[in-house]
């Protein structure tokens, strides 16, 4: 009997802007592209806002996907280098006014250390707002999984997602962080297929999410799906990673606009 096609929620996508050679697209265009790959919903994050003027790009992202809120779950961003009170107010604004439901932080592009004094208050605020925090991780000097785990340990009420599961060089640290800290989840975007197989073997399945970095590069969504499918995991395991786990963390349409 043929297995029915699996529903997929992509927990790591980007709204393409003008940086990194991306071409800006509307929410509708992007949705169409993702749906063509079999994606049923996507957590979406800014690209340009990681480099400058986070508040402006939070507005642009919210506006860009406003008509597609049954499909996209937008994440906001703030810079830990900015005034802390301003950042916390911006997070509240994003949650309450823009209905953004997660926080994206990128210690490498945003050039902050996880020991920066503003990081823990920002993460704590995210927990209060029920925003999971998805981190770029896997790249020294600021984005090693155990650096992120250092802050995660101080905010046990906040859900922390390692957006690349440590990539190929630090995936074993990501596994350790996921095993040690109940609030650390792994998004399987980035590690090679053999390492993904190992991550699935070693980590609690309910803490694993599918993500593609879609919107960032042309063929990246399809590549990420095929890579996870090639891991050899059982259909029921894949179903949890592709669909059930992200849906449990952030149900689609709850704050739909």
């Amino acid at each position: 009997m043929e297995t029915p096609p699996m529903k997929i929620i992509d927990a790591h996508t980007h709204f393409p802007g003008y940086t990194f050679g991306c071409t800006p697209k509307s929410g509708q265009q992007l949705r169409r592209e993702f749906e063509k790959e079999g994606i049923a919903g996507a957590w979406i994050m800014t690209t340009d806002g990681l480099l400058n003027n986070p508040a402006r790009h939070n507005d642009l992202l919210a506006e860009g996907v406003r008509a597609q809120r049954d499909f996209f779950i937008p994440f906001c961003t703030v810079s830990p280098h900015d005034n802390l009170d301003d950042s916390l107010r911006e997070m509240e604004r994003c949650a309450r006014e823009l209905k953004m439901r997660g926080l994206k932080l990128h210690p490498w592009l945003q050039a902050f250390s996880m020991t920066h004094p503003n990081v823990v208050p920002i993460l704590r605020k995210a927990g209060e707002l029920e925003m999971p925090v998805l981190f770029h991780d896997g790249t020294p000097p600021y984005s090693a999984p155990l650096q992120i785990a250092y802050a995660a340990e101080q905010v046990p009420q906040t859900t922390i997602i390692l957006g690349h599961s440590g990539l190929d060089d630090l995936w074993e640290e990501a596994v350790i962080a996921c095993q040690r800290h109940p609030n650390i989840y792994l998004c399987l975007q980035g590690p090679s297929a053999g390492y993904i197989r190992e991550i699935i073997r070693r980590c609690p399945i309910e803490k694993l999410l599918f993500g593609s970095d879609g919107g960032f590069m042309p063929d990246i969504t399809r590549t990420a799906i095929v890579k996870l499918q090639c891991s050899g995991a059982a259909h029921r395991v894949l179903n949890r990673i592709f669909f059930e786990n992200p849906r449990r963390l952030l149900p689609l349409g709850r704050h739909g606009g």
Partner: protein, 246 residues
């Protein structure tokens, strides 16, 4: 016509201090892989080099025509490493495998020079793991390749993860004696490498066990390469580079 594929990137798992070919063979049963270039892994790369090379030479005899083995010699062993490498080449191993992160040196550090000189003398290529920050980055490989222009270097895994998109092609352009091995990285970057540095400098690798053949073949299938380009990347470049007599 179906191309008999050559896989230029396999690391054999070590079980009870023995190199095991069987898990990879099981993994590749469904793929049309005619020959593989295989390297050791783990402690056999870092420490027990003579043992690794001897095991590899035995595997090559057992699987004659199916595999070519790469030699390992940790440069920190100094003159002993040179001796180990010469012996491995005399035993027929096809090239040198280096893994700076595992062996504890920086790719462009002069400590590796004596081993590259042996490769030059024996006319053997060097496959280097790349992609690990600090010690195994594409521009470090380019620096080494410029130092030894008559030796061919393979940029293993195309600098994946974070160096594939940014450094891989510019570094390869710095040194024409660099070839790019395609495992782990994404399809669009393989296509970019083919377009920008030429299909004759790109080599297919499964990257096993770090990556898996199923994913790597799906990646290539999605590129829809011209058959002549595909033949170069999947087979002919490897035959030329590793001097295979198939």
């Amino acid at each position: 016509m179906k191309i008999e594929i050559i896989d230029s990137a396999v690391c054999l798992p070590v079980v009870k201090h023995k190199l095991c070919l069987e898990p990879w063979r099981r993994e590749t049963k469904q793929w049309n892989i005619a020959h593989a270039i295989v390297a050791p892994s783990d402690g056999l790369v870092a420490v027990d080099n003579t043992e690794a090379n001897n095991q590899m030479a035995r595997l090559m005899k057992t699987w004659r025509g199916k595999i070519s083995g790469l030699a390992v010699a940790n440069p920190w062993y100094g003159k002993r490493a040179v001796k180990i490498l010469r012996k491995a080449f005399d035993d027929g191993l096809a090239g040198l495998y280096i893994h700076p992160a595992c062996q504890g040196f920086k790719l462009c550090a002069s400590i590796i020079n004596p081993l590259i000189e042996v490769c030059r003398e024996y006319d053997r290529p060097v496959y280097s793991h790349t992609g690990t920050p600090v010690c195994a980055m594409p521009f470090q490989l380019a620096e080494l390749a410029r130092r030894f222009p008559s030796v061919t270097f393979v940029m293993g895994h195309a600098g994946y993860s974070d160096f594939s998109g940014y450094d891989m092609i510019p570094a390869a352009k710095q040194a024409p004696n660099i070839m790019i091995e395609t495992s782990c990285t994404v399809g669009s970057l393989v296509q970019a490498a083919i377009n920008e540095i030429g299909p004759e400098r790109v080599l297919f690798g499964s990257g096993y066990p770090r990556s898996l053949p199923g994913y790597e073949f799906a990646k290539f299938k999605s590129l829809k390469l011209d058959p002549s380009v595909s033949a170069l990347v999947m087979r002919e470049n490897a035959v030329r580079l590793w001097k295979l007599r198939l």
